[in-house]
């Protein structure tokens, strides 16, 4: 008997893969024409503005993680380390250094060189990374200060005095960025194109949030770690496009259909888990299997929050005054992204309640201090407040040398035994 929604189920992964390949094909074509691209990052990419200048957008973080997923990262890391880059710095940066030295050669195609780079202060490594391109290519590197929460639980919302003052600063910087884009491309800023792109993003973001909400269902319709990363790629790469808007509308439909039909990503969902941190890309699928083999499903993650640039935050761009709307959206979303890294214990309260999770897996990686430095303490604080099973793992997002699958498996097995004992105790 055919499953309900036969053509719909699985559509997101199929179309997502096609869209990502199409995006890289466009980048390859741009590189071959000798065109420059706008280099941006997932937290505060501003692609809606950059697309209004018809600049192709390159996400070096995505390029770098792809080298790990495609298992070619080791040679990239070695090449950068031979140039003097330390084993102790961000692996994404080193993979990009090697990609640039190889003329943009990449497992997904060819990456055009930068015409400019735009980055926010959501991550300090963004800044150091941008400085490398500044030196290598002598291109403009626009650093946009996006002031984050000053402390845990900072209340902020449009209309508040402090928020509006921060927003005024962000908006002023965006006007300066517009002039930089005009100078780089030789084109005049077209506010209507920005408005149109923001409208596409509003639609995509609405669909994204519906899809995230669908995972409240048990069984969960998608795996936040594997499927979620594909969707994230589309969200970042195709923000501000009609294709992105349609994709997320379709995705929401698919996930809601699966939720309503009781179709889970795993046939026998025994444990609902949350993932905190950055995935283990060197053994991306195998890492997930360590959990799914025991009936564990990642139903949510802080990764889907911060690596989407805070897209879970409930906002939509104001289209009346697009630049101001972009500034407000940027401030709200980047703040939400950064909060979910630095104050992840608070984000977990929301995720645990909303997704009815049984346990939390913290994944600290050598390569990324932003997401990893505070995980041990966040876990401690969470466990002081709540009764929840948790596991803290350490490996890396890029460097196979510090990923020990056997050690990971031992710890994961012990975690599941603890989960089972906890459930048995609760039932007794």
């Amino acid at each position: 008997m055919p499953e309900p929604g036969g053509e719909v189920v699985g559509r997101g992964l199929r179309q997502g893969g096609d869209l990502l390949r199409g995006w890289f094909a466009e980048l390859t074509a741009a590189a071959e024409r000798g065109e420059g691209a706008a280099y941006v990052f997932v937290m505060g990419s501003l692609v809606e503005l950059l697309r209004s200048f018809d600049l192709p957008v390159v996400f070096p973080e995505i390029n770098s993680l792809q080298t790990a997923v495609k298992r070619v990262a080791a040679s990239h890391l070695n090449e950068a380390e031979e140039l003097g880059y330390s084993p102790d710095i961000c692996g994404y940066v080193k993979a990009d250094v090697a990609t640039q030295r190889r003329g943009g050669e990449h497992p997904m195609g060819r990456i055009p060189r930068p015409a400019l780079a735009v980055l926010t202060t959501a991550c300090n490594t963004y800044i150091k990374w941008g400085e490398i391109w500044e030196r290598t290519y002598r291109v403009p590197v626009a650093v946009i200060d996006v002031p984050g929460s000053r402390r845990a639980g900072d209340a902020f919302a449009p209309g508040d005095g402090d928020f509006e003052r921060d927003c005024f600063y962000v908006a002023g910087q965006l006007r300066e960025l517009v002039r930089t884009c005009e100078s780089v491309t030789g084109r005049r800023f077209d506010v209507d194109r920005l408005r149109e792109n923001l409208a596409w993003s509003n639609a995509a973001l609405a669909g994204w949030r519906r899809a995230l909400a669908a995972n409240r269902a048990a069984p969960a319709p998608f795996n936040a770690l594997i499927d979620g990363t594909v969707y994230l790629g589309v969200l970042n790469g195709l923000r501000g496009t009609p294709a992105g808007a349609v994709f997320f509308s379709d995705l929401a439909e698919e996930m809601e259909l699966k939720a309503a039909s009781g179709l889970g990503t795993l046939h026998d969902e025994l444990w609902r888990l949350l993932f905190v941190g950055v995935p283990c890309y060197p053994i991306f699928r195998r890492f997930n299997e360590l959990f799914t083999e025991r009936g564990g499903v990642f139903v949510g993650s802080t990764y889907l929050w911060f690596a989407s640039g805070g897209a879970q935050a409930p906002f939509s761009y104001d289209l009346e005054d697009p630049l101001r709307g972009l500034a407000t959206g940027l401030l709200l979303s980047v703040r939400a992204a950064v909060d979910s890294m630095l104050f992840h214990d608070r984000a977990l309260d929301e995720l645990l309640d909303g997704l009815r999770a049984d346990g939390v897996v913290f994944h600290a990686v050598k390569s990324c201090r932003t997401t990893s430095a505070g995980l041990a303490d966040g876990r401690r604080a969470l466990l002081e407040r709540r009764e929840v099973a948790s596991l803290l793992l350490e490996s890396d997002m890029m460097d196979q040398r510090v990923v020990s699958e056997a050690q990971l498996k031992n710890r994961v097995d012990a975690f599941f035994e603890g989960l089972a004992a906890r459930r048995a105790g609760a039932l007794a």
Partner: protein, 397 residues
């Protein structure tokens, strides 16, 4: 000076240096710096004073001072981070752990903690710190888009918010008059520190790098009035010091903007090098000229931070490309070599090492690359390498 001399009408929190000859004064500074009981902070608190801890690199101490608070520079510590170790991941610099340890084991009691998000690790520090203590902890956002015409207004506003929060802690709002007085006091401190740097650059045989460091660094744990008195007493003694020029290499030292190398390491460097320029505790000297003491003091502090300031790997400013700034230091100081140090696991420092090395290579300036940790205790290998480097330079000359 005589023991027990009053400073600005009140008893000093530290008189250990007073009445001592130069050698004793320098030794007292070093002892204070390495005293993990932090007696000056304790003495301040015993008198009912409140303390705001601020993490590296730069903090507008004038705002805390004007509110009647003691600004205490949190810059790591020579101790084992027994409790803090469990709060952080494995791949992390030492300064974060030892700094937090000060708070966790209670040896430094603070009333507030402030940190700028200087790097990916440090931006987590406020979150971790705040989860472990009851007093207010906040990030201070210092602009990274320093070239924006909006940055100064934003920073002035950030300082205004800080002023309000510190008033709530200290029980005294810093008005314009208090702020101007604090600006004047800190201007004097910066002038004295500049004289110390000048002396080191112009007659480095009078002042070894570890001695200069100790003299400057104690400022982070003293009321600035007292630090000014200390420096004012030390500078003439240094100028008259009967020291002879030796056959050492004039070197620039970089890598000390955040985590601090141990004093023993600096002593080791001083055996073979005259450090004529460095970024050790650059935050104390971040503002390179006097801040206007008239007009709006918060706006003046903000403008000075952006427009008349030093440089470091953790501030992005396209007007101050770091390699060019380093080469300017080399030229200004007449240095023959550069020591490119970086704290272990310090991403900004390690990343800039690559660019610095390339720039120095291109300019034909010899350089020595090294990593350090604040609590390292074995220097034999490093000493041998540095000695070989220096010998090669002297031999080639």
């Amino acid at each position: 000076m005589t023991p027990g001399l009053r400073v600005e009408g009140r008893e000093p929190v530290w008189s250990g240096w007073q009445g001592k000859p130069l050698g004793g004064l320098l030794e007292a500074c070093r002892e204070l710096l390495e005293d993990t009981a932090y007696p000056t902070v304790a003495a301040w608190r015993e008198r009912g004073g409140k303390v705001v801890g601020h993490f590296q690199v730069y903090f507008p101490e004038e705002i805390a001072h004007a509110a009647g608070l003691l600004p205490f520079k949190v810059r790591g510590a020579p101790l084992e981070p027994r409790q803090a170790e469990s709060r952080f991941g494995s791949y992390l610099c030492s300064i974060l752990k030892t700094s937090l340890e000060l708070a966790l084991d209670g040896r430094v009691e603070l009333d507030a903690f402030v940190a700028p998000p200087i790097c990916d690790a440090a931006r987590n520090l406020v979150a971790v710190w705040g989860r472990n203590v009851a007093y207010p902890c906040r990030l201070l956002v210092l602009p990274q888009n320093a070239g924006s015409i909006h940055a100064a207004d934003f920073l002035r506003d950030e300082y205004e918010r800080l002023r309000g929060e510190l008033a709530a802690i200290g029980g005294r709002r810093a008005g314009a008059a208090e702020l101007r007085a604090s600006v004047a006091l800190f201007n004097e401190n910066r002038r004295l520190l500049r004289r110390l740097q000048d002396l080191k650059r112009e007659r480095p045989w009078l002042l070894a790098v570890d001695e200069a460091y100790a003299l400057a660094a104690v400022g982070g744990m003293l009321p600035r009035e007292e630090h000014n008195a200390l420096l004012a007493a030390a500078l003439p003694l240094l100028a008259e010091r009967p020291a002879r020029r030796q056959d050492k290499v004039r070197a620039v030292f970089v890598g000390g903007f955040c985590e601090q190398p141990p004093l023993d390491l600096l002593q080791l460097v001083a055996r073979t090098c005259y450090v004529v320029e460095d970024d050790l505790l650059i935050g104390l000297r971040w503002l390179e000229e006097d801040v206007a003491a008239d007009g709006d003091p918060l706006a003046a502090l903000a403008r000075a931070y952006l427009e008349r300031s030093a440089w470091s790997p953790v501030q992005h400013d396209p007007r101050k490309p770091k390699e060019r700034m380093l080469r300017a230091w080399v030229e200004r100081s007449g240095a023959e070599a550069v020591i490119l140090a970086a704290a272990k696991m310090c991403e900004p420092g390690l990343e800039d090492q690559v660019a610095f090395a390339a720039a120095l290579e291109e300019a034909g300036v010899p350089f020595f690359v090294s990593e350090f940790e604040e609590n390292m205790s074995s220097f034999d290998h490093l000493g041998l390498q540095l000695e070989t480097f220096v010998e090669n330079l002297l031999f080639d000359a």
